[in-house]
Amino acid sequence: MTEKAVFLANGATGRFIKNDRFNTTVISLHFYLPLNKKNLAADALLPYVLTSCSNEFQNFTDLNLKLLKLYGAELSCSVSKSGDFLHTRISINAINDIFANANESIVGSAAELLFSLIFNPAVENGAFDRDALNRERRKTLERIESEINDKRSYARTRLISIMFKDEPYGKFIYGTKEDVSNITGHSLYEAWERLLRQSVIQLNIIGSKLPQNVFDSFSKQLSRIERDRICKVLDSNPINPIETPQIVTDTMNINQGKLAIGFSSETYGNLRETLPLLIFSDVFGGGPYSKLFSNVREKQSLCYYCSSTQRRSKGILIVDSGIEAKNYQKVIDAVLQELNDIKKGNITRFSFESSKKAVMDSLKSYYDSAAALDSWYTPDLAGDIDLTVEEAISLINKISIDDIVKIAMGIRLHTIFGLLPKEDNN
C-alpha cells in the first residue's frame, strides 16, 4: 500500500491511497467547518439533500437508477462532531472497471457523479429545491425524535449534552427540532456556500488505480468557487474538570436501566499525542482483559456490557453500561473502584500487554478495510495527518504502565447520567 497527497486548491487536498486488495474503489469527500449553534441544523441537513438529488437528477428515483446502472454504486453521507468541528463526509463506492463489461468506466463515472452532486445541486435563484428540502427535513426531524429508540446511544448523547451544556459540542448533531423546522431553501443555500467556500476539504481515493483526471476534475470545479474565508483547523477546547460531579437521572418506561459516566481527562488533542489515553481506555474498559469486563461483568455479574471509550478531541472518557436499577449505585462504585485501582498502579502486566497487542493487531488490519483507511486519512486536529499506521504501532509499543497510571491520575469524574426504569415497570 502507498499513500500520496496532492495539493488541489486553497485549503483542499487530494489523497490517493493505493491499495490493490479491494474489488472496489472509494471516492470520499470530507469537509470540516467549525461547529456553530446557529448554523448546525442547516449544515447537518445539507449532505442529505446533496445526496438525494441534483440539477441533473431532479428526483431520487432517477439518481438511484443511475447508481444501479453503475453496478449498484453506493452513495452515502454522514455528519459527525470532530472536536469543535462539524465533519461532513460524502462518499461513493464503485466496483473496479475490470469487473465490469468491456468499455464501461465505472469508477470514473462514479467520481464524476459525486462531483456533480456537490457542485451542481438542485438549486434555483439562490435557494434549494423546496421538495427536496421538505423531504429531507422531515426525515431529519424523525431522526431527532427517534433518538430515544436506542436507549444505549440515547444515554450517551444525554451525557454529552449535560457535560457540554454551554458549548456547541453538547448539541445533538442534527440540531434542535425548532432549528431544523426553520431551515429555508435560502439558508440551506448559504450552508452549501459555507461548505464549499469555507471548509477544509479533503478528497480521499482508495483503490487499486487512480481514475484518470479525477483530481484535476475536482480542482477545476472547485476553482470556480471563491475560497476566500477558509476556516482554520485549530485545536478544539478540551473539557474543564469540575469540583463537584453532576448527577442527573431520568426515568423511562424501560426494563433495563442505562448508566453513562463521563470523566474529564488531562490528555487531549491529536492521535499522536493521545495514544496513551487510547491504551488507558482499553485497559480500563476495552477488551475482555480490561478491568471493567473482567471485574464488573465477569466477577460481579453486574451487567452484560460495561465499557469505556475516549474522545480525544475533547479530552473525555465515557463508561457506559446496561444495569438493573437496584444495582445503580453498586455499578457506579465498582467503576470508580477500578479507576482508583489503576491510579494506584494496580494493573496486571497481562491486561496491559494484552491491550497493547489487541490495539496494535487491529491497527494492522486497517489496510484490509477501505472504510477504516478513509477515516484514518482524514484531517486530524492540529494537523498530524501524516501519522502512519506503522508509526502509531511503534509509538504504542513504547507506552509503559507508568504512562497509563499517569493518564489515570488526570482522569476525574465529571457527570453521571442514569436512565432508569419507572417504578411501576419492574
Binding site: 490493490d20 486488495r21 474489488n23 472496489t24 428526483n59 431520487f60 428515483t61 432517477d62 439518481l63 438511484n64 437508477l65 447508481l67 444501479l68 446502472k69 453503475l70 453496478y71 449498484g72 466496483i95 475490470i98 469487473f99 423531504r135 422531515r138 426525515k139 424523525e142 431522526r143 425524535e145 427517534s146 433518538e147 430515544i148 429508540n149 436507549k151 418506561n253 424501560i254 426494563n255 433495563q256 477488551g287 475482555p288 482483559y289 465477569e298 455479574s301 451487567c303 452484560y304 446496561g322 444495569i323 438493573e324 497481562f350 491486561s351 500487554e353 494484552s354 497487542k357 489487541a358 493487531d361 487491529s362 494492522k364 486497517y366 489496510y367 484490509d368 478495510s369 477501505a370 419507572k422
Partner: protein, 423 residues
Amino acid sequence: MKINEHSDKRFGKFTTAVLDSGLTVKIMEKPNYSSAHVVFGTRFGSIDTRFSTDNKNFIAVPDGIAHFLEHKLFESEEKDAFSRFSETGAYANAYTSFDRTCYLFNCSSNFYNNLEILLDFVTSPYFTEETVKKEQGIIGQEIKMYEDSPGWRVLFNMLDKMFYKHPVKIDIAGTVDSISKIDAKLLYECYNTFYNLSNMCLCIAGNVNAEEILDFIAKKIKPSDKKTVYRSRVIEPDKVSSKYVEQKLSVSGPIFCFGYKEIWDTPIRTQKDKIVADIMLEIVCGDCSKLYRELTEEKLINDEFSSEYFYGPDYSVVFFDGESRDPKEVARKIDAEIKRIISEGIDSDFFEAVKKASIGEQIRKFEHLDSIVTDMVESAFYGDDILDTQNIIAEINETDIIERLKGLSSDRAVLSVINRKDD
C-alpha cells in the same frame, strides 16, 4: 480427505476439503491482505430445541440453550479462551443465530497460535453448576436489554403470530425463565450432540496458505465418532395465527415489521431462491422503485425503511420494516404494489439495472473477509455454491420474480407494530 480447488479474479484461490474427521474446511486465500478472519461453526442454533442422534428418541431442551452454551464454551478449567486470545492480540468473539453458533477471531499476526486456541477451546467443554449459575445473571441482563430494543421486539412479535410451532418464533437467548432450567448436564448433552465435527465447519479467509492449514488441522483435530444429528421437520400450517400484533414501548413513534410467510415443500432454500428474493425486494421497494417513491412522498417512511429475506430450515419470510406514522397504510400499499407488479409486469430497463447491481453486490462481497467467511459457513451447512452467483443472476428472468411474488399471499401476512408507550 477430499479436496477441491478453484480460482477466480474476484477472490483468488478457494479450497474446500472434507477431512477424515468429518470436518468441512473452506479457505479463501487473499495473499495481499494483512489479516485473516476465521470462523469455527456448528449447525446448532436457537431453533434446535428438539433433536435426536438415533432418529427414534427425540429430546427437548430449554429455549436459549445454544446461546447459553456459546457463552460457556469460552470458559475452561484453567485459562478461559478470552485470556488466551488476549495473549496473541487477536479479536475474538462468538455469536448464536437461529440455525448456527459461530466462534470467530480476526488477527494480523500469530495466525497459527490463534487457530490452535480456537480449535482447542471449542473442542474442550468445561461446565460446572457454579459457572452455569453465574452465566444466568449475565445472560439475564442481555435478555433484558433485548426486551427494550424495539427493532428486536417488532420482529419477534411478527414471528410469533406468523408461526404456530416453529421455534424460530422464540428469542435466540430464550427467557429468564427458560435459561433458569439449564444445567451442566443439559449443556453436555447438547455439546455432545452438536459439536461433533461432521456437524461443524471451519472457514478461513485472508492472508493464509490452504495447504499448510489443512496439514495443521489434520494434526490438531482429534477424530471423533461420526454422529448424525436428526432434526424433525416442522411443517407449518398454510396460515398465520393473527394478521396484526401490537406492543407498547418507549419509542418516539410507531415502528413496524410487515412480513409474508412463504410456504415451500422442501426445508432448505437454494442459492437461486435467495438471490431471486433479493432481486424481487429491490424491484418491489428498492430505493428507485415506484413504491419507495410514493411512500417517501406521502411521508410514510424514512431512511430506516428496509426489506429482508429471512430464511432457514423450514421457515421462509419476506419482510419490510421501518418507522412510520401509519404502519397499516404502509402494509396496505406494499400488498397493493405486489399485486400490481404481478398483473402489470416489470419494466425491463429497471429489471436489467437491478440485476447489474446484484452482480456488483456479489463482487463487492469478496473484499470483506468477514462477509466471505459468513458466506462460506452458509455454503458449508447448506451446500450453496458461492462461486457461481454471477451465473445464477444472469439466468434469472422476469418470470422467476413474478412467480415468487405470487407466493406472497395477503392471507399469510402479519403486521407487527410497536407503538409509543405514553409516560
